[in-house]
Amino acid sequence: MSDKDTVEVAAATPEQPQPFEELGLTKDEYAKIRDILGRRPTAAELALYSVMWSEHCSYKSSKVHLRRLAPNEEQSGQLLAGIGANAGVVDIGQGYAVTFKIESHNHPSFVEPHQGAATGVGGIVRDILAMGARPVAVMDALRFGPADAHDTARVLPGVVSGISFYGNCLGLPNIGGELAFDPCYAGNPLINALCVGVMRHADLQAAVASGPGNKVVLFGSRTGPDGVGGASVLASATFGGDGDGRARAKRPSVQVGDPFLEKLLVECCLELYASGLIEGIQDLGAAGIACATTELAAGGDGGMRVTLDDVPLRDPSLTPAEILMSESQERMMAVVRPDNIEAFLRVCAKWDVEATVIGEVTGDGTLTMTWRGGTVVQIPPRTAADGPVYQRPMARPADLDALQAAAPGGLDRPKDGPALRAAVLALLGSADEADKSWVTAQYDHYVRGNTVLAMPEDGGLLRIDERTQLGIALATDGNGRYCRLDPYQGTQLALSEAYRNVAMTGASPVAVTNCLNFGSPEDPAVMWQLAEAVRGLADACAALGIPVTGGNVSLYNQTGTNAIHPTPVIGVLGVHDDVRRRLAAGFTEDAAQVVLLGETREEFGGSAWAHVTHGHLGGHPPAADLDAERRLADLMSAAAQESLLSSAHDLSTGGLSIALAESCIRGGRGCRVRLPGDPFTDLFSESAARAVVSVTPGREAEFAALCAANEIPATVLGTTGGQTLAVEATFEVSLDELRRVWQGTLPALFS
């Protein structure tokens, strides 16, 4: 019966029970749909509204807070497209525009790590492609349960192999990201994927269906039953079914990716853009055809008529509801002028991409879909695209006062040289700080030949123009432990670190994307964390003068009542005027002055030291100092332009101890330093807005003057050289030992 549930049938059978709750809609939402339509929805309409009004598509719980992120005048200066588009677009000069976005694929990756992570890459790449840009790089920010937990050995290798499989085959360099571990992610790993694309200004595409008579083309993969979550409910016996509903094989709810087809789709779209054959375009991601048609129609000036019988199917038994909800990968939808259709189909045929006209733009303001001669969808598209907005209750977590009161001051600290040495090595070999090569060696960072810096550098750096040496830098950062202690401050620290990481390459930060990973919005404590995080991000972006260009919210990252730490992951984009003058973390020459930039305070709340040596989380996170971050970034950019530095590395988790060890290992060169104050604080404090640099020999006075001009405290620690990390009067460690400790951890856990 569900397959014959037309608008007429729906109007005639108002009392027909419908499984709206199984589809995730509340009673109120269902009533609202009936109110909008003036009748009960058809099965297909119910499916469409249920996915469009899901938290994932509608942002119904977070929207009221996300409004804070709208850019002010200073921030929006370089924006060509902002929040609301598939991805924000930033002008980087010389006629180039860059679009970038980070998105989560957390839940699928827990269920099926390999395909979940793989399709996460595929989805974000299509977002970038839909803006008109050529995708040029990806990054992955990954968070798992304890590194030695049994399930981490299942999830992590699967996730990494999925990213490796999809990204490598697609031909996009993987230039950075994060890998972090915490018990709070044991049942809820965070798999956040970032993609960046580049275009000329004129190539910007719009996600709108306008011009009545224009054709709607679905191209790419065929539509199958994969990823149809709730739709099976519609075919179930309680809803009448169509005879084979109960007998139908259960399909996996996680989609399967085909990176080869995605590569063809990328090249096909770019040729279509270059040939001027597209009026509007939208990628198909979550909620598939339902989302693409409603968003295109809602973004346009008219309506749309779609013939669902014309959708190419992998499984001919799919019902209209299933066709609408299917999340089959590697599909795009374009709006094409009738006189361009032939040329459009020719380009698709060249790339072996199947393309089918499934409808056309109309002037009636209605989204209409027919199937087997009956009308199964007839709705005002904006009502589905906009969705409800909730002002969820919020409450400061009840345990937060106690958590903040449990400051790390009382923890037992290493007091002498041998104890400090042991603490440094314990930290360096901890899973969070250890060498990530076991993961990153499975990713291709060379393809396309423009990668100037990739992990383990602070930020990834890509050349955009071989003639002018213009480039872009990218970094992502997040720190769930800081955010658990103070989501406002923790989010500002995540932004500060990503901003600082980009600045360490010599680039100037220009824009921000974010992926907000939180627990259940129905928990007032989680909503309070979300609101605080967004407020912190908005205030920090305003202070830094850079806009948030887009992002993604992932809620319900919790198992039972245990929510993850609030974990906003922040991506920052920077522009590098001349990539040949990039800075990197490794000590590259002997007898260079080693200088600590910034101010070190006694800040250990949420620190790596407290976590690794005491399993402690309490107190307050370090103070964010956005003004200092801005001045530090200005200093780094100027120093890079003047070639004053031979290395630069930011200080973050683990503080100076980890930064010095990494600069030594990376450059294959030791250093001898004298700590200015209390050795423990100097080595392990996580005060923000700091970096350790080595100065080009002979340029020390110039650099000192530049630091003074930017009001950045600069403390000379010592010089580079030798094969040990030597802290005067405290301890020495050979580079061999540092390397052994740093490199041994992940292979021992996962090989």
Binding site: S161, S164, F165, N168, C169, G171, D258, P259, F260, L261, K263, L264, W351, D352, T440, A441, Q442, Y443, D444, H445, Y446, V447, R448, G449, N450, T451, V452, R463, E466, V579, R580, S751
Partner: protein, 225 residues
């Protein structure tokens, strides 16, 4: 000199190969898999990537492309051909080179800058190097372990057809540390590491790979001069 770079569906390093050709002072000519046409080029590069997704054996479908129908006889007649990574796999599938590339010993994709030793500095693509010269070039593959029967391996070594070897232990388990080989004439060369990613220290670990491209350009100029 005009050097063709073939794009198969799923080729990824074609733009990089073309850039390396330009760095070596030659003109890069795009060749399309579906065209039975080599456009009169003086040499051909089969670039890295995942032709047809490599869902079947790597290179097994690409070898049947129309462009290969032109390339195979031309290569046998002496046209210099360089197969990099997936291109090497295609050359083996097309039987222009013996043996096969199998899954890495560790079963994981490996991206790593690997030291190589030039074993044969007289091929069309390596004559600019010294025999025994050390190169640092990226390796990035999941199915890069060279394999062949003992008789074939003996024959390759006896006739000097091993072109480059991994210095030290082969990271992927390649037989006898073989990273690249050539045909009997020394004009068709295939290797797993990516010399096109080592043409500029800005974007690669070294500029050591540029010699593959300058070798063929220099030899061509010499033959014409």
């Amino acid at each position: 000199m005009r050097i063709g770079v073939v794009t198969f569906p799923g080729s990824l390093d074609d733009t990089d190969a073309a850039r390396a050709v330009r760095y070596a002072g030659a003109e890069a000519v795009p060749l399309w898999h579906a065209d039975r046409d080599l456009r009169g080029v003086d040499a051909v590069i089969l670039p890295g990537g995942f032709s047809y997704g490599d869902y079947l054996r790597c290179g097994a479908i690409a070898r049947f492309s129309p462009v290969m129908a032109e390339l195979v006889p031309a290569a046998k007649a002496g046209l210099p051909v360089l197969g990099i990574c997936n291109g090497f796999q295609i050359l083996c599938e097309a039987h222009l080179l013996p043996g096969a590339l199998t899954r890495n010993a560790g079963l994981r994709f490996i991206t790593r800058d690997v030291p190589l030793t030039v074993a044969n500095a007289s091929t069309a693509w390596t004559n600019g190097y010294e025999s025994g010269q050390q190169l640092l070039v990226p390796l990035k593959s999941g199915e890069g372990a060279y394999a062949a029967g003992p008789a074939t391996l003996d024959e390759l070594e006896r006739t000097g057809r091993v072109v480059v070897r991994y210095a030290g232990a082969a990271p992927n388990g390649a037989a006898r540390g073989i990273a690249g080989i050539c045909d009997e004439a020394g004009t068709v060369v295939g290797l797993m590491p990516h010399p096109e990613h080592a043409i500029d220290p800005l974007t690669g670990p070294s500029a050591d790979g540029l010699g593959f491209f300058t070798s063929v350009v220099t030899a061509f100029a010499g033959a014409r001069g």
